[in-house]
Amino acid sequence: MLSKKAWMGACALAVLAFTTSGALAQTIGFSQIGSESGWRAAETTLTRQEAEKRGIDLKFADAQQKQENQIKALRSFIAQGVDAILIAPVVATGWDSVLEEAKEAEIPVVLLDRQVDSSDDLYLTAVGSDLHHEGKVAGDWLVGAVGDKPCNVVELQGTTGSSPAIKRKAGFEEGIAGHDNIKIVRSQTGDFTRTKGKEVMESFLKAENGGKSICALYAHNDDMAVGAIQAIKEAGLKPGEDILIVSIDAVPDIFQAMAAGEANATVELTPNMAGPAFDALAAYLKDGTEPPKFIQTESKLYTQADDPQAVYEAKKDLGY
């Protein structure tokens, strides 16, 4: 009995050895949260594209916003013996045991976009954007755009208490710190939605002398900015000229507004988190190069000078 088991085990090992050495393409499992937003859909599209470009066999699992589905997907990836695992964790806690299983199986795990609370020796690296830095880039742009002129800013915050709202606010304030001509005169939440962005902007316009004393709008995401642009237009002002508009995310619709001269700048939250992740994995799998524990993606600034129409054309089919 024992020898039969051992023989079977050896056989399985041999098969495993043959497949891993025989297959040219790497197999990487990707556990995605779901498709709750356009940005998430674009991230999925770009991850597939990046994998195809590098000849990687990507195994995709959609968790539909459930952690238990992600843990199941990770266990099945481990059982299949993939070369590496990418995961966009839906929540921060509860990953210790499954990450330990991956570590025991010597499969490197890369976190995309979001962080986990587990000890950082349980995963290879995390790829993500620095929300605070995004806000700062937006603030820096405004400082450069207005120069020494006095400027009253109104701010559309994200959902109250959410980490993007807190960090993008703090980052922007850091960007405009030391420039006393720029003041945030009103700040309200627009819940990251177009409807609320429009409604809150309407009240800003009325509260600030029909909008005549507002010089710029800073929105924590593009959707709120798109709503606010409509409110400004309906109030008879010119968005982009009478009121400067800077926001974050770089979704396709804001590039249409920029092409029409109705928005001024946006900071990109790149949906291409997989590119840097694949690069780090390639180096690690080749000769064991350890990447840093956090790889920060670029927070690129787009303005009207960056051919917004072309960017729109490039982005519109990514699934945003």
Binding site: S35, E36, S37, G38, A41, Q157, T160, G161, R186, S187, Q188, T189, D191, T193, R194, T195, K198, E199, V200, E202, S203, F204, K206, A207, D223, V226, G227, Q230, E234, A235, G236, D253, G319, Y320
Partner: protein, 341 residues
Amino acid sequence: MTAAKAILRRVAPQLLTLAAVLGLIALVHPGFFDVSIANGRLYGSAIDILNRGAPVALLAIGMTLVIATRGIDLSVGAVMAISGAVAAAAITSGIGLVPTLALALVTGIACGLWNGLLVAVLGIQPIVATLILMVAGRGIAQLITEGAILTFNHKGLIFFGSGAFLGIPMPVLIWLAAGLLVTLVVRRSALGMLIEAIGVNLRASTLAGINARVLLIAVYMTSGLCAALAGVIAAADIKGADANNAGLWLELDAILAVVVGGTSLLGGRFSIIASLIGAMIIQAVNTGILLSGFPPEFNLIIKAAIILVILVLQSPTVRTTLAFFRRDKASAEAKAETVIQ
């Protein structure tokens, strides 16, 4: 004349509350009642309240009828998302404005029919029956828009969200017209009385010969139609259908509007006009908070505190106690009686 007086007496508490809330906002924001004309339409904070309150006002019309039958419709927010998504998908496919509107409204009516069948034919409790569509509806809307915000640029459809007729924003005209129409239909016929009868005692009204099943289904279909109108307005307002956020939590605001309007959740007597004023009170609170310039962390607390004060003032116990302390004992008792009614 007496009918007008009766209506006025019925909505007096709501009107006083609305006046108080508006007065409070005018204190915080002095230019509140300024109305000017910009881009050929009335422009001002007071107009914003009428305009932004349109979705909740429309939902409240249907919700009042449903609640009068001792039911509740939790699905209206999701139905808004569905009909908005249908409208956006239809208009971008290029079938023209009239078929688009028809399709969106029929979708809402169909959603109402589904709820009505579950409640009236299968006998499922309304809160559970409509919960099904509340959860599933948003998923259906997301399937239609494929998870993204589906934008459109059709001038005719956008007109329903941000256009104006004779200077009055279209959403305001739509909810006023819908409110007037439904009120006339239920009050100029026996329909209103029959709906109240179902709410007071379903079995007795059935035995008295009312076709409760058909009437219940019709009431839920009306609620679906109102939600569809609200959904089209919400989508037209931002030139896009946002399946994730359109109408999110608005079912609760609609129920609140009905309650603030003084219609009991136990069914029976109802007043659509009072519910509409209730919707305006809620929107006035929302707009007032935005104008006040408080940090957003306070929004929900301020709103809850104001609503609590309104409901406490309307509670029968408080009102009888207040009446008791008045000198004129006889009038106090008369007032207490009207409250109990």
